[in-house]
Symmetry: C2
Subunit: 472 residues, 2 copies
C-alpha cells in the first residue's frame, strides 16, 4: 500500500484479499462472449453484508462507480466495466454460503454469491428441487441470475428467476440495507420492492441474499425425442401436451435440423438422433409422485400426437443412459456452434401462437439479406423463446460478422418479432450490448419510468453506470 | 350543469353518464366491511383508456385527487375516499370488456374493469382456467385484484395475482400511458415495471388493462374432507401431499372446530362434517389430464396419512353434490361469522413451518388478554395464510370491539407472527386501515423506498392519497 494507491481505503476496509488490482482483475473485466475488454481500478471481494455496505459508502466518498458481478457468465456485458469510467467490480464470490434449506417451507436461503449448482445441490440433499437450470449453472452465481432474471431450461413449468424469489436483501446506493428475507408466500405490505431488484442488472443496488422457492424433487421422469412432421403446429403440440399431462411437462425444446447437424459435425459422428421435416423436440415430463405413472401418461399423449399426424416418430428414453444421450445433444448445441466458428445469438421471444409465422418471416429476411448464411435455431420454444443464431461464415472474422449482423439484419429480425408482439431480449437482458435496442424499441413512457426509478434510488449513478439504464 | 358545478369539466369530457354526484356516489364511498363512510365530490366512470387519460389531466389541472376503484370489495379501505380530501372516485365499471382469449398462448387480455367471474367464464369457454378465485369473484374487478395483489383459494398451486400477470397497461399521474400488454412469458428488457403496479393499491396510476396467464381447465378433481388427529403436524401433511401428488393439490384449507360450529349455528343444523381433535382440512387435487387417475393418487396419499396417524378419518367426495357440500362449509364460514355477530379479521401469514407455534402462542395471548372471546380460524394454510378472526362478543358493539381489538390485542398477535418471520397482512393489503401497521412494522429502508417510488412517479400526490403510501 502506498499513499498514492487509489484503492487504499478499500484495502483497509476489506483486507488484502478483498481487493484485487492489476493483472488479477483480468478475468473479471472481460465478458463471457469475449466481445469486450473492460477495465477496472480494482475488483472488490467483500465477505459480508457489512463489508458491502462499507465499500458502497467508500465508493461514494471516493468517487468510484461500482459494477456488481456474479459468475461473469452473462451474454450482454452487464457485468463488465468499461474502460475509462473509474469503476470497481464488486464480486460476491466470497459470499457464497447456503444459509439454510427449510423443507417444510420449501425454501432455500443463501448469499447472493452462491453458485447456482451449489444451491441446486443443497436443495437436492433435502430431496427438494431448485428448478432454475441453465448451461452456466456450474459457475454462475445467484446474484447474477437475479440481476438478469435468468430463464433457462425449465421456465415452461416453473417460471423465470423472478418467479422463484420469495425474499431478497440488497445494499442500496446510499449504503443502507434493504432486507426482505421472509420465507412467506403471501405478504401484501405495499410495493413489491424486492421484484424491483430482479432483472435490474445491478443498477439499483447490490443484491446480497435471496430466499428462493423450492419444489419436491422430481424423481420420476419420462423423456422422449420427437420427430416433427413437416408443418407440425408446434404451439398446438405444446398446448396439447400441457393439457394431456396436467402441466407435468418440464422440457419442450425445439431442435432444428441445422442445430443437430452442428452437434454431429463437432462429434465427427452421427448423433444417433434424427429430426423430422419439421425438426425435433426434446420432451420431458417430471413428477415427484410415485403414484403417477408417467410413462403411461407420456405414451398416451404421444399416441395422440401420432394419430394427429403431428409427429412422425418418437423415441422414449428407457434408461438413464438414453435420457442423457438425448440431453447431451440439446446441451452441446452451443459447443457445436462454437466448433463451427461461432454464432451471433439473437435471443428472440414471441407469443407461442406466432412462432410459425416468425420462423417463416425471419427465414425470408435471412434468405434475402444474407443468402447462404447458416442458421442454428433451437431453444425453449415451449415458452415462446427461440435462440435464433446466425453462424459465422467460414473465413469471416467473428467480431466483424457480429458487428455486421448486429448493425444490420438483426434489426430486421427483431422487427419481425416485435411486430408479432415479441421481444428482442427474451432472457439475456440488456446490459451494455443491447442498450441501443432498448432505447430504439421501448416506448418513451417505459424509458421515462426506468430513468425515474433509477434516479430516485441511485441519484448519483453509483451502480453499474454504462449498463441498461444509461441512454446510448 | 351550472357554472359553479365543480366537476363540470369532467361532465364535458366523460359525458353525463360518466359523472355521478350526490346520493349516486353512496355505494362507492362506503367500504366493504362497513367500517368507514367516505366522501367524494364525484364518481368518474370512464369508458376508454383515452377518457382515463383525459380525466387524469383534468384532475391535475383542477386540483382533485383520484381514488381508483374496482368492485369495492376490499377489506382495508383502499378504495374509499376520505371525507374532506377533495377526491374523486374513478370507477372502471364501464371498462369491463374481455378483449381476447388466446388458447395457444394461454392468455386472457381484458380491461381492468372486467369482473373476475366474467374473466373466469371467458377462459372456461375455451376449456382454460383463470385460477384466481376468491369469495368476491362475482363482483370484484380485475383492476382491484391487481391493485391489491389478491390471493384467494388457489395460491398454493398458482400463486398470487402478481404471479398471473404477464402484461399490464396503466395511466400514470401525468396522464401518459404505460403500455406493456405483451403475451410473453419472457421479456427481459430492464426493470419489470408492470410488477410495480401490482399491489400498489392505485397509488402509482390507474391500471386500465391486463394480460393474465391461463392454464388448461382442470376438469378432473378429487376432493376429500380430512379429520386431523390431535397435534397433527399440518406443515408435514401439506409437504407430504405436495410430494405424493406432484403438486396437483389446489386446495388445502384448514377449518377449525370453532369455524365449523359457526356454520352449523347459522344453518340451525349439523353440517354433516366433523373436525378431528386437530381440526379439519378440505383437500382438493385437480388435473387437466384424462391420463392421471386422480382418485387413486388421492387414496394412496390418504392411506399414508392414516398410517402415520396424522388423520383419523377421511371422507372422499364421490359425487359433485358431495364435493359442493364440502365446499359450502368452507365458503360459508364468513357468513357464519356474520350471523353470529361479526368478527375482527386478522389476516396473518407465517412460514408454514411456524404455523403450529403461531397457533399455540397466539392462543395463549388470546386466553390471557381476552378470555372467553370466541375465535374462528381457518384459511389457506397450505400457503401459510391463516384467517385468525376474533368474534364480536354478544351484546358488544361491532365497531367498538373492532377498535378495542385493533388498538390492543391485534398488535400482540401480529407481534407473534412477525417474531416467527410472518406478516400482519398476508393478502388484504394496507389501504387506509393498516397504514399505522405498515409504519409501525416496516423498517425505515422499506418506508423510504416506498416514498421514493411514490414521489418519483406521482410527485403531486394525485393518486389515492390517504392510502398505503401516506404516513399515518
Amino acid at each position: 500500500m502506498t499513499p498514492s494507491d487509489p484503492v487504499a481505503a478499500f484495502r483497509t476496509a476489506l483486507g488484502e484479499g478483498g481487493v484485487l488490482t492489476g493483472s488479477d482483475t483480468a478475468r473479471y473485466t472481460r465478458d463471457q462472449r469475449d466481445l469486450m475488454q473492460g477495465e477496472a481500478d480494482a475488483v472488490l471481494r467483500p465477505r459480508s453484508v457489512a463489508e458491502v455496505q462499507a465499500l458502497v459508502c467508500l465508493a461514494k466518498a471516493e468517487g468510484f462507480g461500482l459494477v456488481p458481478q456474479g459468475g461473469n457468465t452473462g451474454y450482454v456485458g452487464g457485468a463488465t466495466p468499461q474502460a475509462g469510467r473509474r469503476q470497481l467490480v464488486v464480486s460476491l464470490e466470497r459470499m457464497a454460503r447456503i444459509r439454510s434449506v427449510d423443507p417444510l417451507d420449501f425454501t432455500l436461503t443463501c448469499d447472493a454469491g452462491a453458485i447456482l449448482a451449489d444451491a441446486q445441490a443443497a436443495a437436492a440433499a433435502h430431496d427438494l428441487l431448485l428448478p432454475l437450470s441453465l448451461g452456466a449453472e456450474g459457475s454462475c452465481r445467484l446474484g447474477g441470475n437475479l440481476g438478469t432474471n435468468a430463464g433457462g431450461l425449465q421456465v415452461l413449468r416453473y417460471g423465470m428467476t423472478r418467479d422463484l424469489v420469495l425474499g431478497l436483501e440488497a445494499v442500496l446506493p446510499d449504503g443502507s440495507l434493504f432486507s426482505d428475507m421472509k420465507r412467506l408466500r403471501k405478504n401484501n405490505i405495499g410495493y413489491d420492492l424486492k421484484q424491483l431488484f430482479v432483472g435490474a442488472e445491478g443498477t439499483l443496488g447490490i443484491v446480497t441474499g435471496v430466499v428462493l422457492k423450492l419444489w419436491p424433487a422430481q424423481n420420476h421422469r419420462a423423456t422422449a425425442w420427437l420427430q416433427l412432421a413437416a408443418d407440425a403446429p408446434i404451439p398446438e403440440i405444446a398446448a396439447f401436451l400441457r393439457r394431456e399431462t396436467s402441466d407435468l411437462v418440464t422440457t419442450f425444446e425445439l431442435i432444428s435440423a441445422s442445430s443437430l447437424a452442428l452437434v454431429a459435425e463437432m462429434r465427427g459422428a452421427p448423433t444417433g438422433f434424427a429430426t423430422g421435416e419439421g425438426g425435433a423436440v426434446l420432451l420431458e415430463l417430471s413428477s415427484s409422485s410415485r403414484h403417477i405413472r408417467l410413462d403411461d401418461v407420456l405414451m398416451a399423449a404421444l399416441e395422440s400426437l401420432m394419430e394427429r399426424g403431428w409427429i412422425t416418430d418418437a423415441a422414449l428414453a428407457s434408461s438413464e443412459a438414453q435420457r442423457r444421450a438425448m440431453w447431451a445433444v440439446r446441451e452441446t448445441i452451443p459447443e457445436g456452434e462454437k466448433h463451427a466458428g461461432g454464432s451471433v445469438k439473437l435471443d428472440i421471444a414471441v407469443p407461442l401462437s406466432q412462432l410459425g409465422v416468425f420462423l417463416v418471416r425471419a427465414g425470408a429476411v435471412l434468405a434475402e439479406r444474407m443468402p447462404g448464411v447458416r442458421l442454428s435455431f433451437y431453444g425453449h420454444v415451449g415458452d415462446g423463446n427461440v435462440h435464433y443464431n446466425l453462424m459465422v461464415p467460414a473465413g469471416e472474422d467473428r467480431l466483424a460478422f457480429t458487428r455486421r449482423v448486429e448493425d444490420g439484419i438483426a434489426h430486421e429480425i427483431y422487427a419481425v418479432a416485435i411486430d408479432l408482439g415479441g421481444s428482442f431480449s427474451a432472457e439475456y437482458g440488456i446490459g451494455r450490448f443491447k442498450r441501443d435496442l432498448l432505447h430504439r424499441y421501448a416506448d418513451p413512457t417505459r424509458l421515462t419510468l426506468i430513468e425515474t426509478i433509477k434516479h430516485g434510488l441511485d441519484p448519483d449513478g453509483l451502480m453499474n453506470a454504462g449498463a441498461m439504464t444509461e441512454r446510448p
